[in-house]
């Protein structure tokens, strides 16, 4: 054999063999007894999870597409009260002949289907004329849930509502209410339309003359809260409708004063950017005599152990604070990593929602010791917002309906940091969930016999 052949053979073999042929990615199962795996994988679901009731005093309720009306009391004694405020504007195209005659005036409201509370009772409501201007907060340009504006002593009209069968004065579709309004106001508006047409059709002159409308439940005559479509500039927008007839030309007609669409903002600029800039819902809870009576401010917390082992969540008003104080106890198991942490909670039977109406997601965020918002809960290692409580709805087996949350990042951060826990979790209804509403969710705590609250953590230890 020639040397050259040998040399090239040798070199090519070295090159060839330097490439890896091994199929190291082929995996085969050697069962659990080939070698002892020193990795301990532990599931812990007995860690203490404390829940607390917290309240929010103010939140903005203007620029919304729904008005709320009514009053309802839950099984735990919390009373929720809603009234709505809005302004109306004249139709600039209104043109009434001098030969016409005023007939009647109605407030037309379209229900949007939202309701909560005891709808087997008939509710009674009153419509008032405002004597005070609706003024937004000059800084935030919002109106808040706890604000109220003065109204006339005598209502312009009243109506009853049977949500099982909507009662109307005249024959209009059953998802709307037509409230008869004091004809004196109707006559006044009619006369102005005829006599002072040019000035009354100016928004600002009209606003000075008619400051707005407030609709509120009659005290003690309402056991439910319902929603009214508040979107301006639609067929189902709230409106005052003035009926008139003309004897000479023999016709009936009406003119509308719909909910205000164009407004002047705090800088004095005319705008239509935000719908219902000057309209809002007044929502208050009366905690007197309820389980959470002692909660006095938004910084307060009240353990669910002293509130029948339940805590409350209500849009804008009530949130549940969750503390997991003993995460560092995992170190007794050795050093390891948190693989996942999932929080399960069951809504109480006594909550205001039918199971099918439970929001499909609940929001969760990090708050400080004074219940102030700190940050959303991120997915570990990412800026993607993480914790979304997903409703697991299962009527088939044991009626298990529960929310489950991935709170891995929170548990991991607490586990990794040596400091005393600085933040807690705050559970709330999602901000975009059918807002505004007064839905309540009642969540059981770990001491509850009926409702499970459980944190399931997987840890690996090396």
């Amino acid at each position: 054999m020639s040397m050259r052949i040998i040399i090239s053979l040798l070199l090519s073999l070295i090159m060839f063999s330097s490439c890896e042929f091994d199929d190291a990615d082929q995996i085969y199962d050697l069962g659990n007894d080939f070698i002892i795996d020193p990795t301990r994988v532990i599931m812990v679901d007995t860690l203490t999870v404390n829940t607390f009731n917290t309240r929010i005093d103010t939140f903005h309720t203007s620029r919304v597409n729904r008005f709320l009306l009514g009053m309802t009391k839950n099984n735990y004694g919390i009373e929720t009260y809603c009234e709505s405020y809005f302004r109306i504007a004249p139709d600039p195209l209104a043109d009434i002949e001098e030969t016409s005659r005023f007939d009647s005036i109605q407030l037309i409201l379209h229900l949007d289907g939202y309701h909560t509370g005891d709808t087997t009772q008939i509710g009674e409501f009153e419509v008032y004329r405002l004597v005070e201007d609706i003024l937004v907060d000059p800084v935030t340009e919002y109106l808040y849930n706890n604000q109220q504006f003065k109204v006339e002593e005598v209502p312009l009209g009243r109506f009853t509502l049977n949500l099982n069968r909507v009662i109307t004065d005249i024959d209009v579709p059953t998802d709307s209410v037509a409230v008869s309004i004091d004809p004196a106001l109707g006559q006044e508006l009619f006369d102005m339309l005829v006599a002072e047409k040019d000035s009354i059709l100016e928004n600002e002159i009209f606003d000075k003359y008619f400051k707005g409308i407030c609709i509120r439940p009659v005290k003690g005559k309402s056991s439910f809260v319902f929603g009214i479509n508040a979107k301006p500039d639609t067929l189902s927008s709230p409106k005052l409708r003035l009926y008139y007839s003309d004897k000479r030309y023999l016709y009936d007609d009406f003119v509308d004063f719909p909910i205000e669409n164009e407004y002047r903002n705090t800088k004095g600029v005319l705008s239509t950017t935000y719908p219902n800039y000057n309209a809002f819902v007044h929502i208050t809870n009366n905690y007197q005599g309820s389980l959470i009576e002692s909660l006095s401010s938004s910084e307060d917390i009240l353990s669910s152990n002293s509130t029948n082992n339940v805590s409350f969540i209500q849009a804008g008003m009530l949130r549940t604070r969750i503390e997991i104080p003993y995460i560092d106890d995992f170190y007794y198991l050795g050093t390891g990593t948190i693989v996942s942490a999932e929080l399960f909670m069951e809504p109480d039977e006594n909550n205001s929602l039918e199971k099918a109406d439970l929001p499909s997601q609940l929001g969760m965020s990090l708050v400080d010791h004074k219940n102030r918002y700190f940050s959303p809960l991120y997915v570990v290692g990412s800026t993607q917002k993480g914790a979304i409580g997903v409703l697991n709805y299962n009527d088939e087996f044991k009626m298990k309906t529960y929310y489950s949350y991935d709170i891995t990042s929170f548990v991991k951060d607490e586990y990794d940091s040596n400091a005393i826990p600085k933040y807690a979790l705050m559970l709330h209804l999602p901000y975009d969930y059918k807002y505004p509403n007064v839905d309540q969710l009642v969540i059981g705590n770990q001491a509850s016999d009926v409702n499970e609250l459980r944190l399931k953590v997987y840890i690996t230890n090396y």
Partner: protein, 408 residues
């Protein structure tokens, strides 16, 4: 030459084996043989040959009397079929097997140096168990690579016509990279990976002798040889890292630099003899014992003393015009009792070898082909049965070749 040396260094870090048994300790210890010795069952203590480097016994280096330089290198391809009760998997590995260079100081002192893999690690397998606190499965995927290389310098000293002494100093170095990825069946998106990258190093020394007696004038000869190597410790640093995956994101949750788990190279001794009959046939046999039990027991498995028996037969090459007559033919067998017991079963290894040495024209250089077929382990007690076959090509070049190139 330097290029070859570099290639050797680089490629030795590659996977050269695929066996879950290589998980333990240093992995698959490649203490069989190199070059020509592979084909004669790995025997070598009592083997004495003028045209090959017999690295098993440095005292045999003195047999190389007429040459001033001898270079050996080899490559191998290994096919493995691993069987468990659940099924089989097949692997193909390949790498450079060794590199060695022998040279001569004077007529009494001969030296050799080189690099060879001492142990090889390569595995990827799965185990499963239950979570503590829940009836739910955890899968652990084990992966390993790397291995310990040995750089050595050997000296053979001829005391007289019959008796030689040998010594070898070795430096061991290399990475052992192990990882295990634990996946909870209920949380498949969040595996935890523990990686341990250890760099080991250590020294060793081996002393040996060889006694050769001429039996007649027709080429019959008896050679006796033996070697002893005390125990040495390999130490090193391990970089530990734990990665926790959360869906698509992997987070480094823990790092540490620790002293690597100590591993003791066993003290070992061995002896062997070879008998050459009329210059035509050589019969060799070796016994070797390595005291692995010096290592502390692993939690699950036990180190045991390793015993190796090997025998080999060679039809010596002849002076002839016929190429096939000039070739030498070899056959051998080797039994290795193993150094770790799994579930109290020693994983032993039995192999048969077959080989051929082909001389290169007009030189003393040879190309040696060795074929090994063997079996390791057992299917019983849930263990794994490993069947392998391996072809090794070794090139033994000698100075004559180098001289010729100079003339070119």
């Amino acid at each position: 030459m330097i290029l070859l040396l570099l290639t050797t260094f680089v490629s030795m870090s590659q996977n050269s084996t695929s066996s879950p048994y290589s998980y333990f300790s240093l992995g698959d210890v490649q203490n069989v043989a190199y070059g020509r010795n592979i084909a004669i069952g790995g025997t070598g203590y009592g083997v004495r040959e003028s045209v090959y480097l017999n690295l098993k016994n440095p005292a045999s280096l003195t047999a190389i009397d007429s040459l001033s330089m001898l270079y050996e290198t080899g490559v191998f391809i290994k096919f493995t079929r691993n069987s468990t009760v659940d099924g089989d998997s097949k692997y193909l590995d390949g790498n450079i097997s060794s590199f060695a260079l022998g040279h001569r100081y004077n007529s009494r002192l001969m030296a050799a140096f080189g690099v060879m893999p001492y142990s090889q690690i390569g595995y990827s397998f799965l185990t499963s168990k239950y979570i503590e606190g829940e009836v739910s499965t955890v899968f652990t995927q084990w992966k390993g690579s790397g291995g310990i290389n040995k750089m050595f310098y050997s000296l053979g000293l001829k005391l007289n016509k019959n008796f030689s002494l040998g010594g070898e100093a070795g430096f061991y170095y290399g990475p052992i990279i192990k990882s295990r990825t634990t996946t909870i069946a209920a949380e498949p998106g969040s595996p935890t990976t523990y990686t341990e990258n250890s760099q080991y190093h250590g020294f060793s020394f081996k002393g040996s002798f060889q006694y050769s007696a001429k039996l007649d004038d027709e080429g019959s000869r008896l050679v006796l040889g033996g070697a002893y190597s005390p125990s040495y410790r390999l130490s090193g640093i391990s970089d530990i890292a734990i990665y926790q995956a959360y869906d698509a994101v992997s987070v480094l949750t823990y790092t540490n630099e620790e002293k690597a788990e100590k591993i003791y190279l066993p003290s070992s001794f061995g002896g062997g003899a070879s008998l050459t009959l009329k210059g035509k046939v050589m019969l060799a046999a070796d016994y070797e014992m390595a005291r692995w039990s010096i290592n502390p027991n692993l939690s699950e498995n036990k180190y045991v003393d390793q015993q190796i028996y090997s025998i080999g037969l060679e039809r010596v090459s002849r002076n002839s015009r016929n190429f096939f007559e000039k070739c030498s033919y070899r056959v051998g067998a080797r039994y290795d009792s193993g150094y770790i017991t799994y579930k109290n079963v020693a994983v032993n290894d039995l192999r048969f070898t077959l080989g051929m040495g082909m001389p290169l024209r007009n030189s003393l250089s040879t190309v040696n082909v060795a074929f090994e077929i063997g079996n390791r382990g057992t299917l019983s007690r849930g263990l794994m049965d490993e069947n392998y076959s391996k072809i090794t090509l070794t090139f033994s070049f000698h100075d004559y070749w180098f001289m010729k190139r100079k003339i070119d």
